[in-house]
Amino acid sequence: MTLSAVLIQAIPLTLLFATPFLFAALGEVFVQRSGVLNLGVEGMMLMGAFIGIYVAAPSGLNQGPIIGLLAAMLTGGIMGLAMAFVSVTLQAEQGISGIGFTLFGQGLSSLLFRIMTGGVITADKNAFPAINLPILSSLPTLGKMFFQENILVYVAFALVPISIWVLNQTKWGLQIRACGQNPAAADSMGVNVVRVRYATLIFGGIMAGVAGASLSIAATPIFQENMTAGAGFIAVALVYFGGWSPFRVMLGALLFSIANNLQIWAQLLNVKIAGSVIPPNLLIMVPYVLTIAVLVFARQRRRTEPAALTKPFQRGEN
C-alpha cells in the first residue's frame, strides 16, 4: 500500500480528531494572551462532553445535537466564570487552581454519568452527522479527504482566521494582548483588566465545552468516564507549541493528529525497520515525543509569550 493511498484515508480522520484539540487550544490562546493560564481545560472538556451528550442523546433528554452543544457551551462557560473568580478575583495561583478545576470536572462528570445514565450512553441518531459540502465534496479524491466531515470540524477550522483577525485587527484583541503583556499600562489606558480576563476565561471555558461536545456528540458519539484522556492538557501544550498564534496552534493540532493517525497505520501494516516490526508501544509514543521535541525547539520563539502570563493583576501594584 502506497503512502499516498494511506494519506487519502488518513486525512479525514486527522481533521476529525484534530478538532477537539483545535477548539480547546484556540480558546486557551485567548485566555493566555490576556495573561491567565487555564489548566482546567481537561475538566471543562469532560463536563462539556457529558452535559452535551446527556442533553442531546435519545436515552438522555433527547434534545438533539444543537441544544446539546449549547448546553455544553453553557457548562464550559460557567466553569470558565468560576475559574475567573478563583484566579482573577481571588488571585489564587493559576496552575494549581486550574488543576483543581480539572480534578473537579473529572470527578463530577464521572459522578453524574453514573447517577444519570446507568453506565452507558450513546448519542446515536442525535449526533452531528457527517455533511457532504455541496460541489466540494464531489471533487475527486479531494472531496473525500476534506469535505465530508461533521459541521463542528468546519467551524473549528473557520475559527482560526477569525481568531487571528480578532486578536490582531480589533480593539478587543488589542485590549486582550495589552492585558497579557502589560496589565498596568493597559489599566492606565482605561482598559478594565479584570473584565477582559473574565471575558477570555468564560470564552475559553465555552470553547473547552465545545471541544468536549465535538467528541461526545460528533467524533465518538458516546461518553465514558475520563474519556478525554489528557486531551485538555495536550491542548494547553499546543498553545505553547504554537507560540500563542492561532495559525501555528492549528499546525500543531494537525501535526499531533496526523502523527497519531500514521502511527496507527504503521501498526496496522506491521511496518518494519531493519527487518523487524516496530513495537506498538514505541509507535504510540511518537505523537507525544514529537510534541515535546517541537516544544523544545519552540523555545526560540518565546519572545511572543505574554509577559504577564500567570501573574495576577492587582491595581496599583504591578
Partner: protein
Amino acid sequence: MKKILLFVLALVVLSAGVVSAQSSPFKVAIVMPSTINDLSWSQSMYDALTGIQTAMGGADKLEIAYTENMYDVTAAEQAVRDYADQGYNLIIAHGTQYNSFLFNVAADYPNTSFAWGTATDTGESQGLKNIFAYQANAEQGGYVEGVMAAMMSKSGTIGIVGPIPAGDALLYINGFQQGIKATKPSDTILLAYTGGFGDTTAAAQVAKTQIAAGADVLTGSAQQVVGAIDAIQTAGGLWFGTQWDQSGQWPNTVVASQAYDWKPTLTDMISKIQAGTLGGTVYTLTLENKGLIFDYGKVTIPDDVKAAADQAVADIIAGKITVEQDLATPEAVEMTPEAAAATPEATAAATAAS
C-alpha cells in the same frame, strides 16, 4: 395495654437485630484498576460478587466493598492494606500489575485471604499459604470468535483494537488471530494498540482507521472499546467482544461476546476460606469448566457459522485444537488495492446486502 404491646414489639425487633448482627457476614473487598461499570475486566468480577451475594441471601450474608480506578499501584497497596486492617475475610487485588506488593502484604496479614489475577503464582514457593490466583484462558474464546469473524467478514479484512499487548487482552487477541488463520488464511488482520485501557477516543480512532482500510468486522478488549463498537456500528459492520457481554447497548452490531464467569471460582474460594484454607489454589477459566461463556446479541448468525463455532468449542475441549498463548512476530501486511480502496460506505453496503 397498647404501650405494653408496643414495648414488647420493640423488644422483639431489637433482639432480632442483635441476633442477626451476631452472625456476621463474610466480608469481601475488591481493589480494581478501572470501574464497576467498565463493561469489561473489572465489571466481570464485580458482577460475579453481587451475583453470589444475591445467591447467598444479601448483604447480611456477604458484604462487598470496592475501590475503583487503582491504576496507581502504590495507592492500590494502601487500599489493600486498609481492607486487611478492617478485618475483611477475602481481599481481591484484581490486576496482574499488583504483583509488586501482594506477596509482601499477604505475609503481613497471614490470617487474611488474598486473591489476584491474571496470575498463576500463589506464593507457595515463598511459604505463603493465604493467596489464591486466577486467570482466564481468553485465547480459547478468542479462537472461537476468530473462526466466526472470518466466516462473517465480507471484505476479508478484520480489525483488532487492542489496549496494551499484555495480560488476558493479549491472550484473547492471539487466540482470535489463530481462529481467523485456521479458517481463512488469506484474510487480512489489522491489529493496533491504543496504549491504554480507558481512552475511548483512541479506540474510536483506531477503529475508524481500520474501517477506512477496509475492515468490516472488528474486535477489541478493555473498557475503551465502547468507542470502537460505536464506530463499527456507524459503518454498518460487526463486532466481537470479550470480558463482558457488550450486546446490550449494540444488539445489532455485537455478534458474540466471550464473557468471564467468576462465580464458580469465587464460590469455591469462599467455601475453602470458611473451611480454614486461605489460599494455594490456582483457578483457570476455560471453555471446558464453563468459566468462559458466550453471550449473543440479535445479529443473525448463519447456521454454518454457528456449527463451526460449536465444533471449535468441542475441539478445544477435546484437545484436538491447541490454541497457543503466544504468537510469532507478525509479518508485514501487504494490502491489496481493492481492500485499500474499500470505503466505510462500501463496507456498510456489503454488510447490509448480506
